[in-house]
Symmetry: C2
Subunit: 372 residues, 2 copies
């Protein structure tokens, strides 16, 4: 195989597929990135068996072939090649000895047999969901923080992707809270209901463009989900099992509604966690009155009292929360004002907009009223 | 004690003294920052027994007093106070209960008795060395990388500060290499020869201004060195013992002189360490000819050949180095061209300018010529 490539194009391609290179494995071949050249096309492939990524790189093919190169070394070599010395040559002989050169720098590394590699599973592409890369990226970012990578319940380590055809709903939950984002689809797509591993979504998010003009197509089969965008294809295994009954956890009844400035509330909670460093189980206690919330945090390190102005309708309430859960939801919302809906100190609090494009459920925590 | 302060001024002051707050200690009082108010002046003090820092903060004193507050919590509280809500009030009662408030946020933390604190040692200020903060900062930055925090030789963990009156020389060495920077002093000062702990210098460097108009005064006693700048005083303990005989290690004879482009050489060495990830003892081998250096690196991961253009006078040489040592010296030099002076593959290589404002000594390493 002999290829001539632009350094930046090659580096970008390696950067994309390297998201599927496992850092530790007992099978050296899986730590590799496969470079394949056939006709005019140059393809890079990596696969950690849960997540597989393929991407095409522009370049000139002088001679077809394929080789598997250790991912970390290949990435570092290409990253450090001189950028002002013209094109990169990648030349692999029959013994898979691979020479990567650019300007005066000539690297020689031993490749492995690309035939031993585990390629991406075949995914039958029928109907697809289409959305913009930015939309998918945002939906993942705005929900991924409430997955739980707890081994005892694998479903909590994934996100529900559920579509009724014209709307995609992305859901994550960890037993203490739940995050939901809804996306209106411009084109009608298939109905789907699958659980995608959070780890896969975290990696996919790193390579999706921050761009509303670029689209991504999503295909689903029984065991896999496939994302197709730009010159890249990502296939992730799905998590098996029936996801939690999301509808049953959501209530639209409430006894009080609180409207407040998100930034003020967020900063007050950020201050409260200053005191939880050595004592992170302490709740923030909110006394919600008609015009203000009186906030209190008491830990071994000290105490904080704080007031935030609100517009409240409904009864007063004294309720405690894990401040981290409030914080993570409030940070992810972009609106200037948010509404909280509550019923009693044991019932979940909902942070949602009127159309429920976002909905964050947070369970309150018990606290000893005597210590407040 | 009752004080009214600007949030940013207070935060800056805490940030300065916190460099002397130890992260772990068996004496809780040492983890504190002391706030002292007397008359018009507000002083913050921290001391980890090796390094002590005092700084003055602008503010209004309503009531004199002193209290020791846990450094990490105090810093985090002040950092998170609302910045647009006006001044910070710090109010400490007779039981040392301290209220720090700003706007609607009211923190209450328990202070400790400031009388139990270990204050900075008295340093008799006689003659001083004067230089600009930027100059000192640069001299530390350009030498600190070659100290060794190896317990078996404490002197290697420090830097020699040696002045003959009109020139300050800063030296560090770790047994494999040595770094020297010389600074011409504008005003004649005392002759000194002391070894300052590297850890102290690293912390001092974080608080020195990046400014050639601001000066720093250095006072030395038998056991301590004192740096005075802006509103801050830093006192460090010295390392006892006779420093290495620096002059004896320096030779001005050489058999070849190589002049090269620093950036090209640096980038070639950076490429070579890509291959040393799992095999970091491998030398980079330089075959120095009349117009080029042929560079070679061979490791388990692969091989690199590279050429760098040079102007050489003197004989040819085949010599090996730990690439990390070359790298760290070359990165710190700002000149576009550098000169290397060598004699034979066993003798030290010197990288220095004509006036020896900088001098880096690097010992070569043995290598098996058969593997090259």
């Amino acid at each position: 195989m002999k290829l001539i490539l632009n350094q930046k194009d090659l580096l970008d391609g390696i950067n994309i597929v390297s998201k599927a290179v496992p850092s530790k494995t007992t099978m050296p071949i899986l730590e590799c990135i496969v470079v394949m050249a056939e006709g005019d096309s140059i393809k890079l492939v990596a696969n950690d068996m849960d997540l597989g990524i393929e991407t095409y790189v522009d370049g000139m093919v002088d001679e077809d072939g394929a080789v598997a190169l250790k991912g970390d070394i290949f990435f570092e070599i290409v990253r450090k090649l001189p950028t002002d010395e013209g094109d990169v040559t990648l030349d692999c002989n029959a013994n898979l000895e691979t020479v990567i050169s650019c300007g005066q720098a000539i690297f020689r590394i031993q490749g492995l047999d690309a035939q031993d590699f585990s390629y991406l599973p075949e995914v039958e592409k029928e109907e697809c969901l289409q959305l913009t890369q930015l939309t998918l990226r945002e939906a993942i970012r705005q929900t991924i923080f409430s997955i739980s990578l707890n081994e005892s319940n694998k479903l909590m380590g994934g996100e529900l992707f559920e579509s009724t055809g014209d709307e995609l709903r992305v859901v994550s939950l960890d037993g203490h809270r739940m995050s939901i984002r809804k996306i209106k689809l411009k084109e009608e797509g298939p109905s789907i209901k699958v659980v995608v591993p959070g780890k896969s979504l975290i990696e996919i998010n790193k390579i999706l463009a921050d761009d509303n003009d670029k689209s991504v197509s999503i295909y689903v089969t029984k065991n896999h989900i496939l994302f197709e965008f730009d010159q890249t294809t990502v296939v992730s295994r799905l998590i098996e099992g029936e996801y939690f009954r999301v509808e049953q956890m959501i209530s639209h009844d409430y006894d009080l509604k609180v409207k407040l400035n998100r930034k003020d509330f967020l900063e007050a909670i950020e201050r409260s966690i200053v005191l939880t460093k050595n004592d992170d189980k302490r709740p923030i206690v909110l006394q919600i009155g008609d015009d203000v919330i009186d906030m209190k945090m008491n830990t071994q390190s000290g105490a904080l009292k704080e007031q935030v102005e609100v517009e409240k309708t409904g009864k007063d309430i004294l309720i405690g929360f894990n401040p981290k859960f409030l914080l993570e939801a409030l940070r992810i919302i972009s609106e200037e004002e948010v509404c909280l809906y509550m019923s009693n100190p044991k019932a979940p609090c909902f942070i949602r907009d009127d159309d429920e494009n976002y909905l964050y459920l947070i369970l309150p925590v018990n606290f000893n009223a005597a210590t407040i």
